[in-house]
């Protein structure tokens, strides 16, 4: 192949790659206020909660999803419940939780729940302010806001838990919600809440290892994009390895079941 042909071929490849990159960028939906994390069930980008709290929510959230898919005992039209907890530093109303819910697609068959805890940063300390509890479209039939409010009162505002022990309060609430789902939605006969709490307490202050989101890559800086464009168009270098999937998918890995919310949420 002559040098001219080779250059033209490389140029053609480069332009094709760039077009694909720009087309994929054009097709992507607008990013929600909070991106989902690799662990999906717990979104604590500000690291307000303990490592063991995050792992506990991740493990039991995943268990619920698997258990609710049991074909032998569960109506498949209500299978795939997902309960996601997120922390956010800011005011209620500064983010659209319904948009986040629908963007993450929480729950199969619209059987999702999103709990967002709002904090403020005061003297370098995170202070809890509010909670938004959002219930998926089909889940509304199994958990009303009235019942959810009672669960929050019983488990999150449990007077036996210190007001500032957010980890304990969140885990207590999480197990409280799971208890409701296992017993009232999936007709389990028992749910040993205290046993799960005891298990959590035994590892509460342990470091259980890095969360999946620890391996997430940050988005590419502008200078990197300029180098890629120069490399692709000017030199005909085609990015390989993990870079192509990174460019196309942004290193994200959502695991929602496509669940939707119809805006059924309340603030506590």
């Amino acid at each position: 192949m002559s040098k001219v042909k080779k250059t033209a071929f490389n140029l053609f490849k480069g332009i094709t790659i760039l077009l694909l990159v720009f087309l994929s960028a054009c097709q992507s939906a607008p990013a929600p206020a909070i991106r989902e994390t690799g662990e999906f069930y717990i979104n604590d980008r500000s690291h307000i909660l303990l490592n063991a709290t995050a792992w506990t929510i991740l493990a039991y959230g995943r268990d619920l999803y698997i258990d609710s898919h049991d074909q032998a005992s569960i109506d498949q039209s209500i299978s795939g419940s997902q309960v996601v907890v997120a922390t956010y530093v800011g005011e209620v109303g500064s983010i659209d939780t319904t948009e986040i819910f629908n963007s993450w697609g929480i729950g199969d068959n619209d059987m999702g729940i999103l709990i967002v805890l709002f904090f403020s940063l005061v003297d370098e300390e995170y202070v809890y302010n509010d909670m938004v509890f959002e219930i998926g479209l089909r889940m509304e039939g199994y958990l009303s806001a009235f019942d959810a409010d009672a669960i929050i009162t019983q488990y999150f505002d449990d007077p036996s838990i210190s007001e500032y022990d957010y980890d304990q309060r969140v885990v207590s609430l999480y197990f409280g919600v799971l208890e409701h789902l296992y017993l009232n939605v999936y007709d389990y006969t028992t749910f040993d809440f205290q046993n799960f709490i005891d298990e959590y307490n035994s590892i509460k202050y342990d470091y259980l290892g890095p969360l999946p989101s620890s391996y997430e890559k940050e988005s590419l800086p502008t200078w990197a994009w300029i180098l890629i464009i120069i490399g692709v168009v000017g030199l005909g270098i085609i990015p390989g390895g993990y870079l192509i999937p990174f460019i196309f998918f942004g290193g994200r890995g959502g695991r929602g079941g496509g669940g939707r919310s119809g805006g059924y949420w309340f603030r506590r």
Binding site: T98, F133, I135, E140, S144, A145, F146, D147, A148, D149, A150, T153, G262, G263, Y264, W265, F266, R267, R268
Partner: protein, 189 residues
């Protein structure tokens, strides 16, 4: 001469084909968008119905109330009956009127109870009802937002050129008012 006739016939055919295509696109587009409007309106009514079912539960829990509260309750129950009847008769305008009365009175009632807790006997349940009131309000607002977006798309479609030439007989739809759902609760203190 024959060549000119062929050219003219070809040009006319092209013009007719283009006009036909535009007509079909305008008509079918309007029908499709109108169907979305109907669906989203149905969602609004479904959310309102669900909300009113919960209002009735709320009212049933009030075993003891003063005269002011009783007046509100009667208004709410009458409006709820009117709303249900209007839906049964596919009378959207009457349903919306009843919903306006019902929601307006319910908002007033909740505000009154918030300011006068001695006027009823369900203090322990108040937090839960407020949660339910808030969530069902947010849901109705969400569905109204979806409906209004569908209405805007429909209206834009039938009013923009060249669609307005082909579907001029269609009337632009009116968006829902959010007044009852965004209003600040009145104070009775």
């Amino acid at each position: 001469m024959k060549k000119i006739l062929i050219i003219v016939a070809g040009a006319l055919t092209t013009v007719f084909v283009i006009i036909g295509a535009l007509w079909i696109a305008a008509f079918n587009g309007a029908v499709r968008k109108d169907a979305v409007v109907s669906e989203t309106r149905g969602n609004v009514h479904a959310s309102l119905s669900a909300r009113y079912e919960k209002v009735v539960v709320f009212i049933d829990a009030i075993e003891d109330a003063n005269a002011t509260v009783l007046t509100y309750l009667e208004t709410i129950m009458d409006a709820r009956t009117a709303f249900a009847d209007a839906l049964d008769n596919n009378n959207n305008a009457a349903a919306d009127d009843a919903a306006t009365t019902l929601d307006g009175t319910f908002v007033t009632l909740v505000a009154y109870m918030e300011d006068n807790p001695e006027s009823y006997n369900t203090v322990g349940l108040y937090s839960g009802y407020l949660g339910e009131f808030s969530a069902s309000t947010n849901k109705v607002r969400f569905d109204i937002g979806e409906y209004n977006a569908a209405v805007r798309i429909y209206n834009t479609h039938i009013q923009t050129f060249p669609n307005n030439l082909f579907v001029a007989g269609r009337v632009a739809l009116t968006e829902y008012s959010l007044s009852n759902y965004t209003a600040t609760l009145p104070s009775f203190n």
